[in-house]
Amino acid sequence: MVTNQSGLLPESIEGSEGVKTQEMLLNMGPQHPSTHGVLRLVLMLEGETVVDCTPVIGYLHRGIEKILENRPVMGGIRYMDNADYLSPMLNEIAYVGAVEQEMGIEAPKRAQYIRLLVGEMQRIASHLVAVGTYGLDLGAFTPVLWTFRDREGILSLFEALGGSRFNVNYLRVGGVLHDFPKDWLKECEAFFDQLDKNMAELETLLTGNEIFEARTQGVGYIDQQQAIAYGLTGPMLRASGVNWDLRVNRPYMAYREVPVNVQVRQEGDCFARYKVRMQEIWESIRLCRVAIDKMPGGAISTRTPIALRPPRGETYFAIESSKGELGIYFISDGSEYPWRAKIRGPSFVNLSILPEILRGHKMGDVVAILGSTDIVLGEVDR
């Protein structure tokens, strides 16, 4: 018999003979269409209302941090691609930046602008996936295919640049691997012109849709203090009205010269998080155009020794990844191998607030809220 301590259950159900209500335990995942990979949520349901939720992670653990310790510094770049597999370029920037900071070298201006350009393109690609799959979570089938079409354009440009669509392995300590292929920047500009149109189309499909608004507005509310207390970063934090973006607040590389308009919204609900991502795509398109316009000449890489031996010591370097603050805590013992490279994955931290905001919502909102946190299990489990 369920006790009626909360006073929520009607008396008739509690009192009548033979009628018993019971909370239902539902294992959502790890094999489930909308847990964004292999997240497992142990949900306690009362009817369709979520009473409790326990995220279980670790199904995609590949020991990336340990692998980094067993590879020479340069060899680790390729493994960083796999951490947040939706934004490999940004992961590389974080890792390479940490090593450069430890070694006290700085990439040439041109390399920094190239990093800004590919980083922002990667941010667009990652946000496109986030927005598209968010539509899919809510049952809209079309946005995901449109956004994947646009993302494909970015991946093709990366393929022309680094030889690989996905695990690009393009950055190097002290610079980047290659200069652009011929006419690559023109292709980029053409792509951005097309992306403008496609994004406008996507906005008409999702943003003004009444069902979409009804599903997202007021759902999964995180207030400002709560967001800071849980250490949220990225669009999750900015959607709760906190103006915090590492590209502005702790500018690194070319961001010291290129100003960024931080996208902040006050509502703190799923719709705000979606909207922040959409606005960041527009902002990133603008940044890419700025980077192409200001692209300086000169070397793409400083000369570094073949065997990189970062000096003994430790450093923390963080960038604004597509999901939030992606930091590398890099400890070197002076050898060719990092002694430790701790990844501060934004997805992992952003996931921590999930049980808090899921409680009391309906079953259908679980995917709406989970989708709005935009986690990548590769980065959560590492």
Partner: protein, 454 residues
């Protein structure tokens, strides 16, 4: 002994006469063609859905099997037939096996009352209570879904089955109430004051009464038995929209596809099904789509009426009559597939509602609207009849009022959506007001950065 032999003789001769009569042959042909129509229609719709959604989503859809991908569904059906029949352990075997049939049978049964043309149709098309029969059968579907959900021994299936029970029963009411508006129209239009609930007679009310033959060949050919200005969707557009919306919910199509919501419930009540049993559910779903579209075509879009049908069948010549009937079948199928296309279009555009929003929409918006419509239709008739105005004037006034109601309905729905979402956002807005007061005191974290760039 003697009585028995007389009885047997009679029975034998009756059977003989029955089996070798034209009616029986006609029945067999009609039955087979209708059964074939349901099944092929489902197969065609599945292919059409994949192709049309493909175009809308900037991809090509199936292209490899057969010319232009046309044989894709045929190949799929072949594959499904040959698949192993899997039962999950600890399912309720009997219910698990029976459920797909319970789902599919009413769908095929409902086709019995749908004539394809003035003459082509099963004997059931003569049924005077066609609409009631259809409504009754379409509500049996839910039993199959609940059986599937319960027997699968899977929590997703259970939630899906229960959701669908709630959903289909809730949307049954506005669906029927929307049809009542049309039935009232027929009762007003008929001279005797008795309306019709026969599907076939619905067409005559939308066509025959309103065009007296003028004797000009061309106009007679086009407009005899085909008066698009009298189709009921012009007089009752709001009911058409509501019926169609409820049809979406009845068939578990987007944006009301909660029972099989992929992103929440994996596949809802279908989760444990595979192979041919799964295919039967699919067949039932697409058959249901065809039925809802057919009923909408009959009650609101003039059914099989179209240019030439009434003229050719009215000539009394068997050859021209046959041509007229074929034309009628063509018009009917065209209208049905046009409505099915809208089903597909809606699916590729809209996100899914949440369960409680779905219920609110049915109980707080659709049912009151249909009830008000019934009231208004009756009131307008009473007022106008007291002035002794003719039927055509009544239709025009009612149509005008109903179109205004449709616009108001759209306005009210969007306003209600905005209002409810505002209410949902209220805690966020209050919290923002509180937070604005302390916004200036947020901690500055720039100093925390241990290794800020050199």
């Amino acid at each position: 002994m003697r009585i028995a032999s007389i009885f047997a003789d009679n029975l034998g001769s009756q059977l003989f006469n029955g089996i070798f009569s034209w009616q029986f042959l006609q029945f067999i042909v009609a039955f087979l063609s209708f059964f074939g129509f349901v099944l092929t229609s489902a197969v065609i719709l599945i292919l059409a859905e994949r192709k049309v959604m493909g175009w809308m989503q900037d991809r090509v859809g199936p292209i490899h099997t057969g010319p232009w991908g046309l044989l894709q569904t045929v190949a799929d059906v072949g594959k499904l037939l040959m698949k192993e029949d899997i039962h999950a352990s600890q399912t309720d075997k009997t219910l698990f096996i029976v459920a797909p049939s319970v789902f599919l049978a009413p769908v095929i049964g409902a086709f019995a009352v749908l004539p394809l043309s003035p003459y082509v149709g099963l004997p059931g098309t003569a049924l005077a209570t066609g609409i009631v029969y259809y409504v009754a059968l379409s509500s049996i579907d839910v039993v199959g879904v609940v059986m599937a959900g319960w027997s699968s021994n899977n929590k997703y299936s259970l939630i899906g089955g229960l959701r669908s029970a709630a959903q289909m029963i809730s949307y049954e009411l506005p669906l029927v109430l929307a049809l009542v508006g049309v039935v009232m129209l027929t009762s007003i239009l008929s001279n005797s004051g008795l309306g019709t609930i026969s599907v076939r007679d619905m067409v005559t009310y939308q066509t025959a009464n309103l065009y007296p033959g003028k004797g000009i060949g061309f106009f007679d050919f086009i407009f005899q038995g085909d008066t698009p200005w009298a189709w009921f969707f012009l007089v009752q557009p709001l009911m058409f929209v509501i019926y169609y919306t409820c049809g979406l919910a009845e068939t578990n199509r987007a944006p009301f596809d909660l029972p099989e919501a992929e992103s929440e419930l994996v596949a809802g009540y279908l989760t444990e099904y595979s192979g041919m049993r799964w295919a039967l559910f699919y067949l039932g779903e697409y058959g249901n789509m065809t039925i809802v579209s057919s009923i909408a075509a009959y009650l609101f879009l003039g059914g099989f009426a179209g240019p030439g049908v009434g003229f050719l069948t009215g000539l009394g010549n068997p050859g021209w009559g046959l041509l007229g009937n074929l034309l009628a079948v063509g018009y009917f199928i065209f209208k049905v597939y046009l409505l099915c296309f809208v089903f597909i279009w809606v699916r590729s555009t809209l996100p899914r509602l949440r369960a409680d929003q779905l219920m609110q929409f049915a109980w707080l918006i659709l049912i009151p609207t249909t009830l008000i419509n019934i009231l208004i239709t009756g009131l307008i008739y009473l007022v106008m009849a007291s002035f002794g105005s003719p039927n055509w004037l009544f239709l025009i006034v009612l149509g005008a009022v109903n179109w205004l109601m449709l616009l108001a309905f759209i306005r009210v729905v969007s306003q209600a959506t905005v209002a409810t979402t505002r209410r949902a956002q209220a805690p966020a807005i209050r919290a923002r007001r509180r937070a604005d007061a302390v916004a200036g005191q947020l901690p500055e974290r720039t100093s925390v950065a241990s290794g800020a760039q050199k």
